[in-house]
């Protein structure tokens, strides 16, 4: 039922790059020898723009629901194909050593500079803003925030001690050994950080795309996600 | 071959206004530094655009401000030798010479070779302009323009950077070569002898104006204006007053000259070349000056003798040039009488 040697293109949030390239794609290709996966990685916002402009994408793996929903509302996603695949967690990080003794979100106010993603364009930033608003900290925090245009910036600012603390996804924090996680967002303080996956309506390779999305929900795949710090849904 | 030029061009403090027609083949332009010689040639070649006027060459209208005609330099087929050479620094001598040719490689090689020979450039073919001496550069520029074989050649000081020996040789060869050439040659030069030797017609420019135009020899014999006289090398010029038909009083030299020629009424100056005086033995005839020698300079082939009219207290200085052996064989050097031959008197306005 699957055409021979099809290639599908997956647009994935940058934070998924390591687990996709190192494990998931090879694993899937081994299981489905006649389907090849190409993947492109960037901030979800950029991926959204590319898809809107008709880029040849088959599957979209976003780092937040906002971008997926935006595409869905424009009718660009195959109906009912969206799966809330993964959950990530928002964590508070500090440079290794934690010299400023920041232990919790409330301590952020002691920091001189705080690194968060730009809520306008970076999903992690958008959640961080929601979290801090709920904690009634946003107004004060935003005054001393540097808004990263991508997660790499936020992470490295903290890693290099340029910022005293920052908020990123747990998976991102895990990728850099110069930062230390001191706290995680309390239950209920922010909406769940969901990584949804969906199939693009314009695809001409619906079946292979479906098999890939199905594969992502297998136990094997979940194991991999877990290994990289994601909570499979 | 005919060239008719009538152009005006205004600068802040210089106005060019030139007007001439020329049918002859060789045509010279003389004029002091900054008189507009180069500018005139540039207008003809199409490198400068006159403000108004008309240039016609062999029945082709090259420029006409009224009809809005301004033929591209490329289509004028007029070669212009830049006073500053304008050699292409990125090309060797050979390439510079050949670059304007539109022909097969072999033909180009032959023509280039011929030019290299004509201009004594053998051995310098592969050198770049900055590796050439001033005179070598000038010869490459000449060769380049000759190779192009335009219908007219405008030469701006073509031999100025050459030593006299090479210059004489080259001049002779070039003019030999030019005899085979069908185009018209317009030459700007500071060398009076060059013009005299090679150019049938002559124009003299001064401060942007054409002050005299005509047959070269006629102009040299009768320059008519003070400026022209200076430019053709007349050293002794003085204001004068017509006394009667046949008699002119020369202010600076305090002498009355007699002549049988008709004296034009508007004459205000008298000129005489330093070479034109003649040594005589006494002053019993008219037009003879008793000379008080002020100074003698030893020049290459001649002595330059500065003298005054002994008969007058107010006489200004005059110059007499005489061949060395002639002077050496002159007796009576301290009683020098010089005659001003009637035919050598320039009557000027």
């Amino acid at each position: 039922k699957v055409q021979s040697d099809t290639t599908i293109l997956v647009s994935a949030a940058a934070s998924l790059k390591n687990c996709m390239e190192n494990d998931l794609i090879p694993m899937f290709e081994q299981k489905n020898p006649n389907i090849k996966i190409n993947a492109t990685y960037d901030s979800s916002g950029k991926l959204q723009a590319q898809i809107e402009e008709g880029a040849d994408v088959d599957v979209f793996m976003s780092a937040a629901e906002k971008q997926m929903n935006a595409l869905n509302e424009k009718g660009l996603i195959v109906e009912n194909s969206i799966v809330p695949l993964l959950e990530n967690e928002l964590v508070l990080i500090v440079p290794k050593g934690n010299e400023n003794n920041i232990k919790d979100f409330d301590d952020m106010l002691n920091a001189e500079i705080i690194a968060v993603g730009d809520p306008e364009s970076v999903p992690a930033g958008q959640y961080a803003k929601e979290l801090l608003e709920n904690l009634d900290l946003w107004d004060e925090v935003s005054g001393k925030s540097s808004l990263g245009t991508n997660v790499t910036e936020v992470l490295n600012w903290v890693a290099e001690g340029s910022a005293d603390t920052g908020i990123v996804y747990a998976t991102d924090a895990a990728s850099n050994d110069k930062v230390e996680v001191v706290s995680a967002a309390p239950e209920g303080s922010v909406s769940k950080v969901i990584y949804p996956v969906g199939i693009i309506k314009a695809t001409t390779k619906l079946d292979p795309s479906k098999s890939f999305v199905e594969f992502l929900q297998t136990d094997d795949a979940k194991e991999i996600f877990a290994k990289y710090g994601f909570k499979p849904n | 071959m005919s060239l008719s030029v009538s152009i005006k061009k205004k600068f802040k403090d210089f106005n060019l206004d030139v007007n001439f027609e020329n049918d002859g083949d060789y045509f010279g332009v003389l004029g002091p530094s900054g008189s507009g010689k180069s500018m005139t040639l540039k207008c003809i070649a199409g490198l400068e655009t006159p403000d108004e006027g008309r240039i016609v060459f062999n029945d082709r209208v090259l420029f006409d401000s009224q009809q809005n005609i301004n033929v591209k330099p490329q289509d004028r087929k007029i070669g212009y030798l830049f006073q500053s050479y304008a050699l292409f620094p990125n090309m060797t001598a050979e390439q510079n010479i050949g670059c304007g040719l539109k022909c097969s490689k072999e033909d180009r090689k032959i023509k280039t070779g011929k030019m290299i020979e004509l201009f004594h450039l053998e051995g310098l073919e592969k050198k770049y302009p900055w590796q050439l001496s001033g005179g070598q550069q000038q010869r490459v520029a000449l060769a380049r323009i000759f190779a192009y074989e335009p219908e007219a050649l405008l030469l701006d000081e073509p031999f100025s950077a050459l030593d006299s020996h090479l210059k004489e040789e080259l001049q002779a060869e070039v003019f030999e070569f030019l005899k085979l050439y069908e185009g018209q040659v317009l030459m700007v030069t500071h060398q009076r002898d060059e013009v005299y030797k090679f150019c049938k017609n002559l124009a003299i420019l001064n401060k942007g104006k054409l002050i005299i135009y005509g047959d070269t020899k006629v102009i040299f014999n009768e320059p008519r204006t003070v400026e022209a006289a200076k430019i053709i090398g007349c050293n002794n010029i003085s204001p004068c007053r017509i006394i009667s038909s046949g008699q002119i009083f020369v202010n600076d030299w305090d002498i009355v000259l007699q002549t049988e020629k008709k004296i034009p009424e508007n004459i205000t100056y008298i000129g005489i070349r330093a070479h034109s005086f003649k040594i005589v033995n006494n002053n019993h005839e008219p037009n003879i000056m008793d000379c008080e020698i002020v100074n003698i300079t030893d020049e290459l082939f001649e002595y330059s003798i500065v003298f005054k009219n002994r008969a007058s207290e107010n006489s200004k200085k005059l110059i007499y040039k005489i061949k060395k052996n002639e002077w050496d064989s002159t007796t009576n050097k301290n009683k020098l009488f010089l005659k001003i031959p009637e035919e050598s008197i320039f009557m000027l306005t």
Partner: protein, 226 residues
Amino acid sequence: MNLSPILISIKTASVSIIVTFFLGIFIARSIADMKYGKLKILIDGILTLPLVLPPTVVGFFLLFIFGVKRPIGMFLLEFLSIKIVFSWTSTVIAAVIVSFPLMYRSARGAFEQVDKDLILAGRTLGMSERKIFWRVIMPNALPGVASGGILAFARGLGEFGATAMIAGNIADKTRTLPLAIYSEVASGNMEGAYSYVLVVIIVSFVVLSLMNYFIMKQNKYSNKGV
């Protein structure tokens, strides 16, 4: 280390420098020819624009132009069956667009420094404007033009923001060296990043040395230079 970004980058940088080089000198020549005036300054401004906008933003605009739902993208797809977005071609487009101002500006500056008498001399020798351009203006403007070439090549090789936007970041297809470096840095794999950086440095050194050598050789004829 995966070699494909290296090959892709070299291919992209080579093709784009050729396009940029000729486009740059062609347009520089046309502009330099113009009389000073408002139009000249306007065009000059527009041509320099890709430089003042962040490359990512340039990429956004390119996406808007070549997207399959936009007129140009639609036309290309319908009539020529060419899809620009996410194709290798688009890496070239991005590189050309961002490096163009460098080439254009340098070439223009260089052309303006050429002695006008040389051009006039060419004209009186009956050389066509085209021949004058290639045989007289270009060689005499070489240092400046070559500078532009070097800048444009380097910029094309290092292009990242616009490329990511319009070409994506697809391994073996559009992932150029800068994208690979960025990806490695982003995923915290500094060693991978360093080895790619080393490659970039080596590639650009080789090319710069070649260019320098070439300029030096060409320059031997001239009495120019400090």
